[in-house]
Amino acid sequence: MTAGDGLSYLVGEERSLRELLLDSEVLPLLKGVVAAGAGSARLVSEEGEVLWIAGGPAGGASLLAELPILLEGERLARLLISGEEARLKEIAPCAELLRVALNAVLRNNLKRMLTTEIHTTVVNSSHQELVEMNRELSMSEARYRELAGNLELRVKERGAELRRAHAHILQQEKMAAIGQLAAGVAHEINNPLGFITSNLHTMQKYVSRFCVMLQFYRNLNPGLPAEARAEGDRKWQELKLPQVMADVGDLMSESLSGAERVSRIVADLKGFSHLDDAGEMPVDLNEELERTLTVLSHALSGRVKIVRELQELPSITCQPQLPGQIFLNLIQNALTHAGVTPTITLGSMFDGKRIRISIADNGPGVPQALRGQIFEPFFTTLPVGSGTGMGLAVVYEAVLKLGGALAVADAPAGGADFIITIPTGKDQPDVQVLGTF
């Protein structure tokens, strides 16, 4: 079988004589016999094809020898030697010699070819294995590189997460500390304030009695001797008692109302911090708004115009410090960004399902491009050091805890309008809809 049949071994493929023997190997041998006296020497395949020939055509002369050429036990060709019959005796041994020589060459060539084949095959497959190994190593390297790259990203993500959580905790702790301080101060002020108020009340009573008595003596004045009367008048004027008498009542009542205001502020401070309350309780959001305004009164008074557009609201059940956190941060935010003559508009309404609270300022408003970011922790438009960037993030978290939604819009008169929508417990499905904000 010749090569190219499509059926072939990788090693030990069947070979034809033409593939195994070279002209330069066969022809000198054949020519040798001819030189020794034969007419012609031919190597003819089993199919009758003349493969190699030396000497003249065989015509006329008789066939002196016909010997088989074997390859792997199979007869592949015949060695034909023709010449004059008289020379048979000399030619026959030459022919046998030629056969042995050809078979030896054939075997050696086959052996060399097989060795080359197997060697090439082994080298090739080793090469392929190395290439494959290289490919797998490259892939594995790429995989590890990718893992390493991802790892860096994951570390960054985790780092950011940690920073956010840390800032959040800081903010909450800050709120808690403020609350605690407020509650502590409130408690300490309450005691002295108690007896101040009580004493003021008593003193008001006593002073009015003094005044009644003074007036009584004054009324006796016309009945006195002229000298004494003049002395009395002079003293009365010298001590400016007419003004004192007119003023003292107001002084007392003003002091009392001042003390009452202090006591109200203290109560609001305590209420705002809600330190005494645990768990959830019904909360009126309007009340919480007012309370927050009281807490912030130092920053608001005189300077800021507060517009209230409040409607009556049903109470919601929640952790009582949450609304305070929301309103404090939003109003502070409004104060920071409000215009030259600051105006803050507080609105609340209830549509039967949801409570809607809006806190609007008359500042520049929030640019459309920033609206996605402002609720992210650390986002701030203030100069470094002025804002933590946590205020609105805390608001966002707190609103989520209430099951509500927070959005920012443009106020009707310009400025930012933060709108909080909180479902009341009565209509649960809306909670879910809003929760997807």
């Binding site: 090693v11 030990g12 069947e14 074997l70 792997e72 036990g73 197997i118 095959t121 294995e129």
Partner: protein, 224 residues
């Protein structure tokens, strides 16, 4: 697998002697060459060796003609047993039509036998052959060793596999022909099913095996 060319009326079969290093694969072929008749058998071709160890392979070809004129060449190869020549083993194992696994009867070689058989299974599957489908004979060689594992023990462990097991002493001759003819028979069964050797080509199992394993008449023929 079977290399068959209907147009050329030729069939080439490949038998591979596999097994651990120094188990006697080449000795098997030498013994076959020694014992079988020269008629229809080619010369044993021993490719380059290194210190008498096979590094490529040995090849003993056989040639026979079926009554139909189909020319059949059977080539028996050995593989190098040493672990380092795995690529050569794989190359020789390609398209094998039958495998004789030559195991070493020395008790100390049990592990090498096992490793080599494992390697055979793995390499067969790498060249796309299924060890359950390839005709396979296991020969336990070196039965002449005094410490050789007991035959009963071997039969007990190999019996359940259904693989034919032969006992041999390749150095002295016994068992070598038996192994070869058993494998030849199995290969015949396999190709007869596909090529209908008996029905189409008039070649019976007995004739096929007989011609391949025909013993030399003592002294009747010498080497050329």
């Amino acid at each position: 697998m079977i290399e068959y060319d209907e147009k050329e009326r030729r069939l080439v079969l490949k038998l591979v002697y596999y097994g651990p290093a120094l188990s006697g694969k080449t000795t098997n072929l030498l013994q076959l060459h020694e014992q079988l008749t020269r008629q229809g058998r080619g010369e044993l071709m021993v490719l380059d060796t290194s210190g008498d160890r096979t590094i490529y392979f040995d090849l003993l070809p056989f040639f026979l003609t079926a009554p139909s004129g189909l020319r059949i060449k059977v080539k028996a190869y050995t593989v190098p047993g040493q672990v380092c020549h795995d690529a050569t083993r794989k190359a020789v194992l390609q398209r094998a039509d039958g495998v004789a696994f030559i195991a070493d009867s020395h008790p100390g070689e049990a592990e090498s036998n096992f490793a080599s058989f494992d390697n055979l299974e793995q390499n067969l599957s790498l060249v796309g052959l299924d060890i359950d489908a390839v005709p396979l004979v296991v020969q336990f060689n070196k039965r002449d060793l005094p410490e050789a594992i007991a035959e009963q023990e071997i039969r007990n462990s190999w019996g359940p596999t259904g693989i034919p097991v032969t006992m041999a002493s390749a150095l002295n001759g016994p068992g070598v022909i038996e192994t070869f003819s058993t494998l030849a028979g199995l290969v015949y069964d396999r190709i007869d099913a596909r090529l209908r050797l008996e029905a189409t080509h008039g070649l019976s199992r007995g004739e096929f095996v007989g011609q391949l394993s025909c013993l030399r008449d003592d002294g009747s023929e010498g080497e050329p």
